[in-house]
């Protein structure tokens, strides 16, 4: 059992969805990014997705890319991601959100060892598919970390079943075909994909891409086990700072408890 398993068990007992919040390390500075992640937890986020800054974030929209570019220009290092995980894990379970190359560069074994030592629970790897993941899966097994792969609306049932067998912790369900960013509506493809995935795995299903407010969170919480919010937190932090992050977390936390 990892902390994520405990979290989803608790949420099930409370008949609500879990709220997972993303922020990249180093934006707008290392200190502020960690303060904002902790504020997120104080506002009601159940688990924090700690973003590893990367120069070529292919699954992110312009907002997160610009934020991460800024963090990199200021000199953020991958080693500081583990510092952030350690600081935030004292408050809530953490998973890192990391593109593959920085993990491969450090080597999967060392990355896993450092992540575990910092108190992290697992890693979401948006540009890694199970077929290419053997070294990572081996390292994750050895250090008892949850590997989290994604399913998308275009995924076949065979692939969803394979992700169900490979993942631990939860499955990241990409709500739409597209990159990260806030959207006016989450769309009905997410619900359809959750329904399809539910038939193929017992793992908790967390929906990401496009959720930005409590109302949307409630809508998604009606059919998913968790709601993942990223760009809206980055926008709040960029526009109004740490307090705005806390307020957004409160709004979203109320949403996942409404299950509208």
């Amino acid at each position: 059992m990892t902390r994520l398993d405990d979290l989803f068990a608790t949420c099930r007992a409370e008949n609500r969805a879990a709220l997972i919040g993303y922020l990249p390390v180093g934006f707008p500075s290392y200190e502020e990014s960690v303060a904002a992640m902790i504020a997120m937890v104080e506002g009601g986020v159940d688990a924090v997705e700690v973003g590893v800054p990367y120069t070529d974030p292919g699954m992110d929209g312009p907002l997160i890319q610009v934020a991460v570019d800024q963090a990199l220009r200021k000199g953020i290092r991958v080693s500081q991601v583990f510092d952030a995980v350690e600081a935030v894990s004292a408050h809530a379970p953490t998973v890192v959100m990391g593109y593959w190359n920085p993990i491969e560069k450090l080597t999967p074994a060392v990355f896993a060892q450092k992540l575990k030592a910092a108190g992290g629970s697992g890693a979401i790897t948006p540009d890694l598919i199970p077929e290419e993941a053997e070294p990572w899966l081996e390292a994750a097994r050895e250090h008892d970390l949850d590997p989290v792969f994604l399913v998308a609306p275009s995924s076949t049932d065979d692939r969803i079943a394979a992700v169900g067998r490979t993942n631990r912790g939860f499955i990241y369900v990409a709500s739409t075909m597209g990159v990260t960013g806030t959207r006016a509506t989450v769309g009905n493809r997410a619900e359809e994909l959750v329904r399809r995935t539910r038939e193929l795995t017992d793992l908790p299903l967390c929906v990401g891409l496009g959720v930005s407010n409590g109302e949307q969170a409630a809508e998604v919480a009606a059919y998913a086990d968790g709601v993942i919010v990223g760009s809206a937190f980055v926008q709040a932090l960029q526009d109004e700072g740490v307090d705005a992050v806390r307020r957004l977390a409160q709004d979203l936390a109320a949403g996942v408890r409404r299950r509208a």
């Binding site: 991958v78 190359n101 491969e104 560069k105 598919i129 994604l150 990159v179």
Partner: protein, 420 residues
Amino acid sequence: MRIPGSAPELPDASGHFGPYGGRFVPEALIAALNQLEQAHAEAQRDPAFLAELDGLLTNYAGRPTPLTEAKRFAESIGRGARVFLKREDLAHTGSHKVNNVLGQALLTKKMGKKRVIAETGAGQHGVATATAAALFGFDCTVYMGEEDTRRQALNVARMRLLGAEVIPVTTGTKTLKDATNEAFRDWVANVETTHYAIGSVVGPHPFPMLVRDFQRIIGVEARAQILDRTGELPQAVVACVGGGSNAMGLFHRFITDESVALVGCEAGGDGVETGRHAAPLTAGTPGVLHGARSYLMQDDDGQTLDTTSISAGLDYPGVGPEHSWLRDEGRATYTGVTDADAMAALATLAKTEGILCAIETAHAFAGATQWVRAQEDDGQTVIINCSGRGDKDVDTAARWFGLVSQEDIKKASDERAAAE
């Protein structure tokens, strides 16, 4: 018996060239990559598809391209060398890029998609894609780094004349790398209606294989032409390498000809030793970028490094995975050619042969010159892939050689601005 370092049967079923290649992309793209892989496999066995492609290459693109002996350029090298140029600059649109794009356009039609997108650096692939889109009646969007839209302004105008939408990319380095990121983002969001016509032997499987298969005709023709002309295989075939499509196109048919050296010329920028270059095979390390594992310019954290090259088409931190495999196997050798050496070769070629090549291509002429002079024996025969023509680069070359004064340039640009 398999010749060491030769394996034209690669990639394997999962898209790997040894440790290189593969698929490192969001799950959302896997279905489209599978669809493309299947469409390509069917097309390669379909006589009607192959006949249609052959007809386009012959009657639209102007293939086969000539093999031109460059006697005066060879004299400038010395050592009794014979130099033959594979004239991809004479193909329609002015570069080898058309070979790949016509193939991918036919695949797009076969898959029932009506929109194509592309990334471009120098603009040659963008122009080729816009051309094919016009011919097939597809909607076309080309992503181009903002810096490149400035240094290759002529090609931006060409693409727009051909009906394509050109989107300047302002993120990151504002060059080919970030144009590629934007094209991938567009593709993820629109994959059900859109084909991403990648312009080089890079990206997730099946692209490195598919683009190679469409470019392979360069080497197939060149090999037959040189045998016809000289009765022998050359000692070396030489090409410039950015992503590596013109080089892979020339090399592939020669991989099993053990006696033929395969020489790739990367962008050495200010000199590989300065760190300001775009030569991952010469000075990079293996990593993952844009969907595949290959040599890459990256720092200790796995962050992609900025690149430097006078050539927009070679100014890219990655390279095709099959090149990485050929490098490690020792079957091909790769060398960094500096901006200065490339520009000198461009001028020599122009003055000795009356051929103004692209700045990308000029790297191959400089590299071939260095290769010939480094051999023990005189009388080497080499084929250089003259991959593109240089019309688009006249402005850059004029500045480099001081053929127009800074005042002239300013005056002309002021006049343009006033006219607008």
